[in-house]
């Protein structure tokens, strides 16, 4: 049987990816350029008995998905820059209370209202540092419409597996471009459920580390009574200010993601085997980079690309290894050097990191990247 194929916009593909992953609850607030996700979910979720709610504001949408997730629902909220900023406090609660959820954030020009219809990649640091306090971060940055579908599925899986918010962050170009999407068959991509408690309700602790760094999460209404708080808490879920407990809990929450970086980080190595100049790119910028690499190769320049599919956790290890054997990194991105700074940390001063930064609402074109390749070769 041939697979279902469709010509879809990125935001539409993301929505269908979420549905494929088992998303059954959506809360959101209208915002350009991500609103199409809300529109698809509003049409599709009720058909499968799921819930769609348009909340009164961005913060309310984030609150609603966290509440719903605690009843066992697989939840999604979609937004863009200003909305992503507004949600940050509750993203922190999602992290500290360890509530699985997916936040889809289309990157548009910023800061503030910025350029609502212009592409950008300037929210990648907000994904890591936007909410106050130490916390884990998982952020996926797809580069094609097909990948957007697949990365939504992966986002739900990671969120459930690691019991933490996961961000899928296409730039506006990827979110609004239309491409062919081949739908995977049901079951073709495995769906990961959250770890359910194996102990009876009386023995259940919502942050029980005897089950490892990712404690099982019961659902409200399933017979388990427990407390969830936004305060620093102990394993039993109740607030604590005991220094050693707070330290251990915070370290565990970061460790459950950073310590599993190899499981979470995905990337593409393009023409890297003999590459002397390596472009580190993500999202739509990686499409221009791929073109530039091909052009450079035609001209005899050994260029390659390390394409991030996962922005956080950041692939420091892989880039550090590369930096020992290349001449330079080039980091094209639609911001003023957010990824570039992380690549510099990975390069540890061994090779130069040359940025190409645009924040004018225009994409970075292949010529710009090719020119930089020639400059540093």
């Amino acid at each position: 049987m041939s697979k279902k194929v469709a010509f879809l916009q990125g935001n539409e593909a993301a929505s269908y990816g979420a549905l494929y992953a088992g998303c059954n609850f959506f809360a959101g607030y209208p915002i350009t350029p991500s609103t199409e996700v809300a529109e698809v979910m509003a049409a599709e979720l009720p058909k499968i008995g799921g819930q769609f709610i348009q909340m009164e504001d961005e913060i309310g949408a984030m609150a609603a998905i966290l509440g719903a997730a605690l009843t066992g629902a697989k939840v999604l909220d979609s937004t863009s820059g200003p909305g992503f900023s507004l949600k940050q406090e509750l993203i922190g609660m999602g992290c500290i209370s360890e509530i699985p959820c997916v936040v889809y954030n289309v990157m548009r020009g910023g800061p503030s209202t910025g350029m609502p219809t212009g592409p950008s990649q300037s929210d990648v640091m907000c994904a890591k540092w936007g909410t106050h306090g130490d916390h884990p971060a998982i952020c996926l940055v797809p580069a094609t419409v097909q990948e957007l579908f697949e990365e939504m599925v992966r986002a739900f899986n990671l969120s459930e597996k690691y019991r933490t918010p996961v961000f899928v962050m296409p730039d506006e170009i990827i979110a609004h471009m239309r491409e062919r999407v081949v739908f995977p068959e049901p079951g073709e991509i495995p769906i990961v459920p959250r770890k359910a408690p194996t102990v009876p309700p009386a023995q259940y602790k919502p942050f029980d580390t005897s089950f490892g760094d990712v404690p099982p999460l019961a659902a409200f209404g399933s017979g388990y009574k427990f407390h969830v708080t936004s305060l620093n808490k102990a394993e039993d879920g109740f607030p604590t200010t005991k220094a050693e407990l707070v330290q251990a809990e915070q370290e565990r929450q970061v460790r459950k993601v950073e310590g599993n970086a190899d499981d979470i980080i995905e990337f593409e190595e393009y023409q890297l085997d003999d590459a002397e100049v390596v472009i580190v790119a993500y999202g739509s910028t990686s499409r221009s980079a791929r073109f530039a690499v091909n052009e450079a190769r035609k001209q005899g320049i050994k260029a390659g690309m390390f394409r991030l599919k996962t922005f956080w956790p950041f692939p420091y290890k892989q880039l550090t290894a590369l930096s020992g054997r290349i001449k330079a990194f080039i980091t094209p991105e639609m911001n003023l050097g957010m990824c570039s700074g992380e690549v510099e940390r990975a390069a540890q001063g061994k090779v130069p990191v040359k940025g190409i930064f645009r924040v004018d609402g225009e994409p970075i074109n292949p010529d710009q990247i090719l020119a930089k390749i020639k400059e540093v070769k």
């Binding site: 819930q51 609150a63 609603a64 509440g67 719903a68 066992g72 409200f220 209404g221 427990f226």
Partner: protein, 273 residues
């Protein structure tokens, strides 16, 4: 036989954080009696709160409890209720949490008429942060941020809730302890968004700045200003000056309830598939 509160309280979680003389404990006992009267299943009841003294109630009652961020309780509760309609969902919190930082969520929960009960402990002050004025602090009152008297007008929470679309609105006081559970019972039984405002006291941060010499004086004030709605019908405007109506202030059983409407929407969507 004395009412057994202990079976509803989480073992080891008392004493609570509330100051001597605070009315929040009276409200919590009223809520527990109401839960007992209605025989709510604790595994199937979620109490949601935001941040503040009143919001700490969620830590004490032994059911599903969700202590969220400042002001967001109504929005979290909306998510819980919509995802799990069979669950009884109750929100508790204070005046600042619910109607300043959380005002938007509060009015929209009222507008949706979603089947949730919201209990507001209104002590006219931000207690936990040390006594700053809230949207219900009376004009002219002293607080740590209104040392020269409060220039702000204040909300009438019941009117706010009615205006925003809540379909059950009641008011009681921490003095009239025996009425609290009856109001909450009726609120939970109501199919729609129900608001129960309990006029409360904060001797620590409000009373001492506003010439209340004792908790008893604050409680006596609640006793004196409260007028049951029935009694008010026979009183003149002059007699009602400075009084506050208590009891069930508003009830509308005709407005569609959100969860029931959403269930119909799902049926329509499935039929159109």
């Amino acid at each position: 036989m004395a009412f057994d509160y202990d079976k509803y309280i989480r073992p080891g979680k008392l004493p609570h954080i509330w100051c001597p003389g605070c009315g929040h404990g009276i409200v919590m006992k009223g809520l527990i009696r109401a839960m007992d009267t209605l025989k709510l299943q604790m595994e199937n009841t979620t109490i949601v709160s935001g941040i503040g003294c009143a919001s700490r109630l969620t830590g004490y009652i032994d059911c599903c409890t969700l202590h969220t961020a400042h002001g967001r309780a109504a929005a979290f509760a909306t998510g819980v209720k919509l995802a799990k309609p069979e669950m009884d969902v109750i929100v508790v919190g204070g005046d600042g949490d619910g109607t300043a930082i959380g005002g938007n969520h509060f009015i929209h929960a009222c507008r949706r008429n979603i089947n949730i009960t919201y209990i507001i402990m209104n002590n006219n002050i931000y207690g936990m942060t040390g006594g700053q004025f809230s949207p219900t602090t009376p004009t002219g009152a002293k607080s740590s941020t209104t040392p020269y008297g409060n220039p702000d007008p204040c909300f009438d929470l019941a009117k706010l809730a009615i205006g925003a679309g809540a379909t059950f609105v009641a008011r009681g006081t921490a003095f009239h302890a025996n009425q609290i559970d009856k109001l909450i019972v009726e609120a939970i039984q109501h199919k729609g968004f129900s608001v129960v405002e309990i006029l409360d006291d904060c001797p620590t941060t409000y009373g001492r700045r506003n010439k209340f010499k004792s908790v008893i004086e604050m409680m006596n004030r609640l006793k004196e200003i409260a007028v049951p709605v029935k009694a008010a019908e026979k009183m003149t405007a002059e007699q009602l000056q400075g009084k506050v109506l208590t009891g069930v202030l508003y009830k509308d059983e005709t407005k569609p309830e959100y969860i029931a409407e959403y269930a119909k929407l799902i049926e329509r969507a499935k039929a159109a598939k």
